[in-house]
């Protein structure tokens, strides 16, 4: 076992310092060391995307990064997406459009969709589906996820949106 390495990063706006094994994955650091269990693990081959977080504003699969590689970075997880008590428009879209069922893929899916909308404020259906190819969902068949992202995109552009019945 290699010596532990000191790391320091900002996670959801709070500075975190610690010592980790060099081989520790970022997802395990977030989940086990910091207790941020909203980021999930659904595979062991970087396929499923349940672990997507933002590192310096970019969507990253946190199972594919060592914690030491995020040293000095600013990390946002699903727990850090609510601002001033308000849902991120993507979170709101997922709720309004029934974009989740079991909820396990949802944190990664929301983080990946938020990243897409940072880069493309008005994606087509095909662009949304393509952008989410690194995130697997087994429950929804994806249609409502696409609708959720469209909802969020419209909301972020300041356009009117239609939610669920209540």
């Amino acid at each position: 076992m290699a010596d532990k390495v000191r790391i320091r990063m900002t996670v959801n706006g709070l500075e975190q310092r610690g010592e980790v094994e060099p081989r520790m994955l970022l997802v395990h650091y977030l989940r086990e060391t910091l207790g941020l269990t909203g980021t999930h693990i659904g595979c062991d081959t970087s396929q499923c995307g349940a672990c997507v977080v933002h590192v310096d504003g970019q969507a990253v699969k946190s199972c594919t990064l060592f914690a030491v590689q995020a040293d000095g970075s600013s990390v946002t997880t699903i727990e850090g997406l609510v601002k001033d008590g308000q849902y991120h428009p993507v979170q709101e879209g997922f709720w309004e459009k029934h974009g989740l069922q079991c909820g396990f893929c949802t944190p990664g899916m929301i983080m990946a969709a938020a990243d897409l909308l940072n880069k493309n404020s008005n994606p087509t259906d095909a662009e949304i589906r393509h952008a989410l190819e690194g995130n697997l969902c087994r429950c929804t068949g994806y249609q409502n996820i696409v609708l959720a992202v469209q909802y969020a995109a419209a909301k972020m552009r300041g356009e009117p949106v239609t939610g669920a019945a209540d």
Partner: protein, 791 residues
């Protein structure tokens, strides 16, 4: 009086979601206990081998490793139980132990257990355990396993046959086939699938040294059943010594119904070590060792007349059960498959024979639809084969054979309960209208002239929902070792807030929302005042859990019954408060009053306060509004519908483009349309995935070649279509809510719609059948070989 807003039928967003979209769910792997240890399993790389020796010394010496156990250490607990066997016949049920003893029967079979202080150390030490194997020849195919000379998976099961079962009328079916104008025959393979809930499985066990009691947090669809099986059968301890908790469960699709080795070995090790033990599968382990679904090889003959009437159906199916018998493995290809093989059609003679066989593969058990997708795929493929054979439109052939509305309740002659209600033709007509059927046939003909291959596939399905009636499932010859009722307790607290505890175990179905909608209407209380609790054997009355699309039709009905009992008691207490006679009281919209005097009413909150304080109650009335129901329905429910897929096949590459997907489903009355649509979307996605993408594939040595998400093609967002859905509504007469169920319908209706479309697209080349999945390679090869045949 103010109109009370009705919640039933409203497409409200789910109350489950706020915690899940914020990453505040609570899945088993999120739970950390003081002193918790981590388990990792040494797994067999061989499909079939004797274990000659295991050297754990290097692993034990590794810093941070607390213990290493092998199968022989755990001989003080029993093998896992077989809860549902094929009925009326002998089953050679060889179930797995917590760890293999002496021999492994599939790749991934657990051989040794490492317990360490942390996850990484446990995994490190797995590589330090040295196991000496003597590899044996393997068999992976369900039918080949029964052939002479095939390697024997278990000594006890001659020819690898676990059970041999049949239903229907063999003599009548043979006669129908012998005298038929037309007989179509096919060999149909329903390939092995891997359910793949996004959360893998796992267990966290804690043993309380002081009391001798276990608590297990588990990824389970049925914690009460696990409690019963683990105590009464595996550990031989009182049921009360175990508390099972299923917190948030990240999808199940059947895979999380069953009793698994990790439940037993985490319990065993936590008792041995006096510390909590957590085991969470990684995805590769999930693929190799948690249950798979389907995997049938079938020989089928369908007989009929030249004018399109089906007169007979004969089916022989070899159902792969894998390396051991999983919890309810043999119930799936028998009761839930053979008994519904004739689908939506009135077929006067049918017979089905099933061999359940052991092979050197992962265990096979229920996967979304469980037997019913295999049945509906088979009959719907054969209806198309028959239509092509007699040169009749496939929609017309279906129409001529449908069970008619006046035939319900309908007995299909295969030993099933009667179909409750149905009206199949309107769903077909609506679906045909949605795709403009006649126009499509014209387009298809035009496209063919240009060398483009368009195809349309029909699927009319019926399925068995609300799987329950204990008296049926427990009847002699059905093979089930338990009942299947469901429980619900409803309590109205002193403050008027309502708490429901249910034996159902939602894991994505939105049961908290749906149940709260129903109860708000029933009791006339604000939706927000209703809380639905589940998942803990200590909190909820005994229930059988969530599978077989039974949460609403069985679990929801238990709650509905409890609500009626609450209202009856509320009327008695209100009568006392109003100094009236109980028999003169009515309960409406949350208020009890003397009939004809609604302005002098007592609200449920006022009655609940009176009931809870108990200062003045009518004689013989107990305090509190608290009612429990164990609801056992008289029948299952039988949702149905017609699905249509339209595809275009690229003649050069064989790639299938699923251009449209249309479904008209009849799931009875609908409580929350948003949730029902969601269930159908996800169900259809899994059927489409079977038709086009997924295959749990073993090579001849028993190596799982689709052992990770790299090889097993779970569809992405870009691989699935838009779903265009409509409904017809035929309420179920089985329950007063008229509900049927929607959790599996999409999966049961979809695979054959897509395959029928693919084959229709190639029909002008002479293609009559193709096995799933219709991957580009398989489609391309089919096109090439049909061209060669034509040359």
């Amino acid at each position: 009086m103010a109109e009370v807003t009705k919640m039933i039928g409203k497409a409200i967003k789910r109350r489950e979601d706020p915690r899940l979209i914020q990453g505040r769910g609570n899945y088993v792997d999120d739970i950390k206990l003081p002193g918790m240890t981590y388990a990792a399993v040494v797994r067999s790389p061989y499909a079939h081998a004797k274990i000659k020796g295991i050297d754990v010394s290097r692993a034990l010496a590794h810093p941070g490793v607390l213990a290493v156990y092998v199968g022989e250490d755990m001989l003080d607990i029993n093998p896992l139980p077989a809860a549902w066997q094929a009925g009326g016949v002998k089953n050679v049920a060889v179930t797995p132990r917590a760890l293999a003893v002496g021999k492994v029967t599939h790749v991934g079979d657990g051989v040794a257990l490492v317990i360490a202080e942390d996850r990484y150390t446990a995994r490190d030490a797995v590589d330090l355990v040295e196991v000496e194997y003597e590899p044996l020849p393997a068999v992976v195919d369900a039918r080949k396993a029964t052939e002479p000379g095939a390697p024997l998976v278990h000594e006890a099961a001659a020819n690898n046959i676990c059970m041999e079962w049949e239903c229907g009328d063999a003599a009548r079916t043979s006669a129908a086939i012998a005298s038929a104008e037309v007989v179509v025959k096919e060999e149909i393979i329903n390939q092995r699938l891997i359910p793949t809930p996004m959360e893998t499985r796992g267990s966290l066990a804690r043993y309380d040294v002081a009391t001798g009691e276990f608590t297990v947090w588990m990824t389970s669809q049925a914690p009460h059943v696990m409690r019963l099986l683990l105590t009464a059968f595996v550990f031989g301890i009182p049921e009360t010594r175990l508390r099972c908790i299923a917190p948030n469960v990240g999808g199940g699709f059947g895979q999380k119904i069953f009793c698994y080795a990790d439940m037993a070995f985490t319990m065993w090790a936590s008792r041995k070590l006096g510390r909590p033990v957590k085991y969470i599968e990684d995805r590769s382990e999930n693929y190799k060792t948690s249950t798979h679904g389907r995997d049938h090889v079938t020989e089928v003959e369908l007989a009929g007349t030249r004018d399109g009437k089906v007169t007979g159906l004969r089916v022989k199916t070899w159902a792969n059960l894998g390396g051991y018998f999983s919890t309810i493995a043999a119930g799936i290809p028998t009761t839930l498959y053979g008994r519904i093989l004739t689908g939506v059609y009135k077929i006067p003679a049918a017979h089905c024979k099933v061999w359940g066989t052991y092979t050197n593969t992962a265990l096979v058990d229920a996967y979304r639809g469980a037997g019913r997708p295999e049945a509906s795929y088979l009959i719907e493929r054969m209806m198309d084969r028959f239509a092509a054979e007699i040169g009749m439109d496939p929609a017309e052939v279906r129409r001529r054979n449908y069970i008619q509305p006046q035939d319900f309740p309908y007995d299909n002659g295969l030993g099933l309960l009667t179909y409750d209600s149905g009206n199949y033709e309107p769903a077909l007509n609506k679906a045909l209208q949605m795709v403009d059927y006649q126009n499509f046939r014209h387009e298809q003909a035009e496209a063919r002239k240009q060398g483009r291959y368009l195809g349309l596939g029909l699927s009319s399905y019926v399925e068995i929902c609300g799987v329950a009636p204990s008296a049926w499932i427990g009847a002699a010859g059905q093979g089930w070792g338990a009942g299947l009722f469901e429980s619900a307790n409803v309590r109205v607290h002193l403050t008027g807030k309502v708490v429901v505890t249910t034996g159902s175990l939602p894991h994505g179905q939105g049961v908290e929302t749906t149940f709260a909608q129903i109860l708000a209407d029933e009791l006339g209380v604000p939706y927000e005042d209703v809380t639905i609790e589940w998942g803990d054997t200590l909190a909820a009355p005994f229930g059988y859990g969530t599978y077989g699309s039974r949460s609403l039709a069985v679990g929801g009905m238990a709650m509905h019954r409890s609500a009626q009992k609450i209202k009856e008691k509320a009327k008695i207490i209100a009568a006392h408060m109003l100094e009236a006679a109980p028999e003169d009281m009515v309960f409406e919209n949350g208020r009890a009053f003397v009939k004809g005097s609604p302005d002098k009413a007592k609200t449920l909150a006022e009655i609940a306060l009176q009931a809870s304080l108990a200062y003045s109650l009518p004689q013989g009335t107990e305090p509190f509004l608290d009612e429990t129901t164990y609801y056992d329905p008289p029948n299952c429910t039988f949702p149905f519908g017609t699905h249509i897929a339209i595809v275009e096949v690229d003649p050069a590459t064989g790639k299938v483009d699923l251009k449209r997907y249309v479904g008209v489903d009849d799931v009875g009355n609908i409580i929350n349309p948003l949730i029902v649509e969601g269930q159908l979307h996800g169900g259809i996605a899994q059927g489409v995935a079977q038709a086009l993408y997924e295959h749990g594939f073993y090579d001849d040595e028993g190596q799982l070649l689709s052992g990770t998400m790299l090889e097993y093609a779970i569809p992405t967002a870009a691989m699935l279509p838009w779903y265009e859905l409509e409904h017809t509504v035929t309420p179920s007469p089985v329950n007063p809510m008229g509900v049927k169920g929607a959790g599996e319908a999409g999966t049961i209706g979809s695979a054959q719609a897509v395959m029928n479309a693919v084959i229709d697209a190639l029909s002008h080349l002479g293609v009559k059948h193709m096995q799933m999945p219709a991957t580009p390679e398989r489609v391309w090869r089919t096109i090439q070989s049909s061209k060669q045949a034509a040359d």
